[in-house]
């Protein structure tokens, strides 16, 4: 008796104390909101002085742009080199090279995929545009790797450099792509060079990150052994670290290519040639079918390049070579034959056909059927979908937005700071506070709160959908296989393609933007949850089953808790990806920061506002990223982007 009653009499159980504290804080927040809502609200002022100052910056850069011309010209030349190469190979040559690479890295199956994939680009009638996209992408990837891999190696070998560069990479990845298109055209004007540089910014972080990860993951003992045997730092790098990290670096190359491809398409907005331009032209005619064809070409290109580089990475890794590959002579003969075959086809192709023209007779287009399907869907369901939109907006979106925009700004900042502290600790809460403070300084509080509302709601839907589908997919191999092409397509199909049906179904509105964001962000979440649950050790599951757990108990008590880290990474990725769609949301009637960025890009007089809005999106991104990252107690990885 004495033993049990003693602590209760002395002080509160810590768990109870914590609950009381939480309830108390909530009560204070509610009270402050009731007392002060509608005051200190910082309404939107589109003539905020800072915007004009930033406009001035534009003029200054405009007048001194010639300084940057050499960079511009050099990159334009590089892009030309790739384009000329592709056009000289001609379509038979490109197909042969793709097939040859497939044979070497993978074998007949991969070669078949490569050849049919590339051929289908021509069959869709999009050969020229696809090759323009490919050339631009290759130029951006080449520069990304030339800069990214050495930098990644350096970062992998130096903790100080890593600490310095990681936050920069974070910002580069959180920054929504549209937000830096306008500054790009300001610095490098429109056209291929701007496009390449914008793509570079987007695609280089994985090259650096994954390379450094590869170097760091080389067993410390192996490195020490090499050092103790008298190897120099250079020898350790070239003989030990690099060979052992080759596989990981291969993944980095793969990631860089995938990201570059998606970005190159978006840069159609700043005059880049290729499939992006086809999609934009189709968009102006509201021709979903035509943009679907171009979108499909991008998906195909992405799948082929993904599988090809994935296998190339394995091929590079000495540990994974096949047994028969040990026969060096036979292998050399095989490669020789492949190379000779490719060369023969290139020459024959140039002699026999016009290599620039893919035969038109083979053309297939999904334009008409897709348009018919879209018309049918939008005609049949728009009543229902509009009702859903209305209900959701009234019940969820509007109340939340009202709370965030009408609460005094200092109350919102305080709540976020406390929340960040509670979830992720002091550093995250300081970062969150600074970010929100800067949003206030930028004069975009009101729009930022509107955007934050949409982002939070979209993230929530993404997580609910992603986690539930991920759980299902983890329990069924068949479902997982069936889902894969859809997930690939949803991740690589440019959002422009499905925006029009979305508008037809949900009208230009914030809800439409949320739908687009969810489509984009759900696939990686599904993948992360799936792989997280699958990697829960079989022993734990068996032990629980042996103890008589039901399926439900197994899920809630074993699988989910044990894959907690994967779930946290998934939610972090979900937020980052939803945020990337904010600007796209501006194109479909969501207004707020997304629209500000789009306007800033389009109208010179709004440049300052656009730049400020882009910055505000980045700040919100950093804030959310830090809060969720801290929750996992670890750095974010890029598993999510792994196709």
């Amino acid at each position: 008796m004495t033993a049990i009653s003693l602590p209760a009499a002395g002080r509160l159980d810590p768990l109870v104390a914590r609950r009381i504290l939480v309830v108390g804080v909530l009560a204070v927040v509610a009270l402050l909101y009731i007392l002060f809502h509608g005051q200190w609200t910082l309404p939107h002022d589109k003539d905020f002085p800072l915007f004009k100052t930033l406009n001035g910056l534009k003029e200054t850069v405009d007048e001194n742009r010639t300084v940057l011309d050499p960079i511009r010209l050099a990159i334009a030349t590089l892009v030309d080199v790739f384009n000329t190469g592709i056009s000289i190979l001609g379509w038979p040559g490109v197909l042969a090279v793709a097939g040859g690479l497939g044979l070497i890295f993978g074998g007949p199956r991969l070669a078949f995929l490569c050849v049919t994939g590339f051929a289908s680009l021509g069959v869709l009638g999009l050969w020229d545009a696809s090759m323009a996209t490919l050339g631009l992408m290759l130029a951006a990837v080449l520069i990304s790797l030339l800069v990214g891999i050495p930098l990644g190696i350096a970062v992998g070998r130096s903790d100080r450099l890593s600490a310095f560069i990681t936050p920069i990479l974070d910002v580069m990845q959180i920054m929504p792509t549209f937000a830096y298109l306008a500054p790009m055209t300001l610095l490098f004007l429109i056209g291929a060079p701007s496009s390449t540089i914008a793509t570079l910014i987007y695609a280089i972080p994985p090259a650096i990150r994954i390379t450094s990860l590869g170097i760091r993951s080389v067993d410390r003992e192996t490195v020490e052994a090499a050092t103790s045997l008298g190897s120099t730092r250079w020898q350790v790098l070239t003989k030990v670290q690099l060979p052992l990290a080759r596989r990981t670096i291969g993944i980095g190359v793969n990631q860089t290519i995938m990201m570059a491809l998606s970005m190159v398409v978006i840069t159609g907005l700043i005059g880049a040639p290729g499939l992006g331009r086809n999609i934009l032209q189709a968009l102006s005619k509201v021709d979903v079918g035509a943009s679907f064809d171009a979108g499909l070409a991008i998906v195909i290109l992405a799948i082929v390049l993904d599988r090809l580089t994935e296998r190339a990475g394995e091929w590079m890794d000495p540990r994974s070579r096949r047994a028969d590959d040990d026969d060096v002579r036979r292998r050399r003969i095989r490669y020789g034959l492949i190379v000779a075959g490719v060369a023969a086809i290139v020459v024959a192709g140039r002699v026999m056909t016009n290599p620039a023209l893919f035969p038109k007779a083979l053309a297939v287009s999904f334009r008409v059927p897709v348009n018919n399907i879209v018309h049918w869907i939008t005609g049949t369901f728009s009543g229902l979908t509009l009702a859903i939109k209305d209900a959701f907006t009234v019940v969820v979106l509007n109340p939340l937005e009202t709370v965030l925009t009408e609460a005094p700004w200092w109350l919102v900042v305080a709540v976020v700071v406390v929340l960040a502290w509670y979830i992720s600790g002091r550093r995250a809460s300081v970062t969150a506070g600074v970010c929100l403070g800067l949003v206030v300084v930028l004069g975009l509080w009101n729009h930022s709160m509107q955007t934050l509302t949409s982002v939070l709601v979209a993230t929530l839907i993404t997580l609910v959908l992603g986690v539930s589908i991920g759980i299902l997919s983890a329990r069924s191999d068949r479902l997982r296989t069936g889902l894969r092409p859809f997930l690939d397509a949803a991740q690589t199909m440019p959002a422009f393609v499905y925006l029009i049906p979305a508008i037809a179904l949900f009208a230009p509105s914030r809800f439409t933007a949320i739908v687009a964001a969810v489509i984009y962000a759900v696939p990686p979440v599904i993948r992360l949850v799936d792989s997280g649950i699958r990697s829960v050790s079989a022993t734990a599951v068996e032990a629980a089953t042996a103890c008589g757990s039901t399926e439900r108990q197994l899920l809630w008590k074993v699988r989910l808790p044990l894959s907690r880290r994967a779930l946290l990474v998934a939610s972090n990725q979900g937020i980052v990806l939803v945020l990337a769609m904010v600007v796209i949301g501006g194109l479909v009637g969501a207004g707020a920061l997304g629209y500000d960025v789009v306007t800033g890009f389009a109208q010179g007089t709004d440049f300052g506002k656009g730049l400020a809005a882009g910055t505000a999106i980045v700040l919100i991104g950093i804030m959310l990223d830090r809060i969720t990252q801290g929750a996992g107690g670890r750095r974010k990885t890029n598993v999510a982007e792994a196709g």
């Binding site: 080199v81 000329t84 190469g85 000289i88 190979l89 090279v97 070497i104 020229d128 055209t185 429109i190 056209g191 060979p243 907005l269 005059g271 331009r277 032209q281 968009l283 102006s284 005619k285 509201v286 091929w315 000495p318 070579r321 060096v328 292998r331 490719v342 060369a343 290139v346 020459v347 140039r350 016009n354 620039a356 023209l357 038109k360 008409v368 939008t378 728009s382 209305d390 009234v394 979106l397 925006l499 029009i500 508008i503 037809a504 009208a507 230009p508 509105s509 914030r510 194109l587 479909v588 009637g589 207004g591 997304g594 629209y595 789009v598 890009f601 389009a602 109208q603 010179g604 007089t605």
Partner: protein, 345 residues
Amino acid sequence: MQRNGLARLFAGAVIMSLILTACSGPGGSAAPSTAAPASVPPATAGQTAVASPSSAAAVTCSGAGDQGTVKLMINQWVGAQANVAVVQCLLQQMGYKVETNTLAEEVAWQGFDTGEVDVILENWGHPVLETKYITDKKVAQDAGPNGVTGIIGWYVPGWMVDKYPDITDWNNLNKYADLFKTTESGDKGQFLGSDPTFVQYDEALIANLKLNYKDVFSGSEAATITAFQQADKNKTPLIGYFYDPQWLQSEIKLVQIKLPAYTAGCDKDLKAVACDYPPYILNKIVATKFATTGGKAYTLVKNFQWSNQDQNQVADYITNKSMSPEDAAKKWVTDNQAKWSAWMP
């Protein structure tokens, strides 16, 4: 293991060098495809494969491609594509190569500076850009009107006018504000603002005309068009920014709202503006360099002038008749010999 790695590297190097030799291969020069007689310049590739069904053998929209290259800018709207398609057809027939580029309006003007754009065939105003690029930088110049008159205004779908005949007068708009309420506009009527790249000051108009509406920006032209299409099909109320000539005008019926009439200078202060948009005499802008060295191509561009009907006709071929811009241009050029022969140098 080392040697295997080397062998792999070697094989990789062979493939790379193969690609490189192929690049500088048979043709030898940097652009053999244009030199080889059998090949066709990429720009004209689209037309040659599809033989024109009409009897006029003269219209092929393709030529030798040896007269030089002209870079035409395509604005995002289809009317602008129609201009470009027809001029492109004629230029190619004259032996020029034509490169086209689709760009936002303001962004396109930069192209005069970089050499990426020679010609904008349809310019809607933009006094600030005119001052910057024509007066100050002198990299561009006015090449006269293209014959099309642009109208910007507030539109409602035709069925609304049948049902509410007096809605076309702006004085009655407040009466109908409730009809246009949406989740995005709160307790006011929703006015659908347009693509942010377009000239627009509806927010100020709504305020200054004391209308109980909220300007909700569609964010893109595609969004606006889709919204009007849905409003027409499902008979849902919609009021918003639209313009003419625009291909949608021939697909569905849109009726313009009468705002207080435009008088010269009434739009001077865009904060106090309370009158309709002015009619736009659309003009062509060309790069100064193109004007001086463009020769016959420049003369054609300078002479190019057609009507709203002509442009809508071609735009209608492209969108509602699902023709490619090339085929649409070919059809118009075949049918309207008298009009375009007047532009020829």
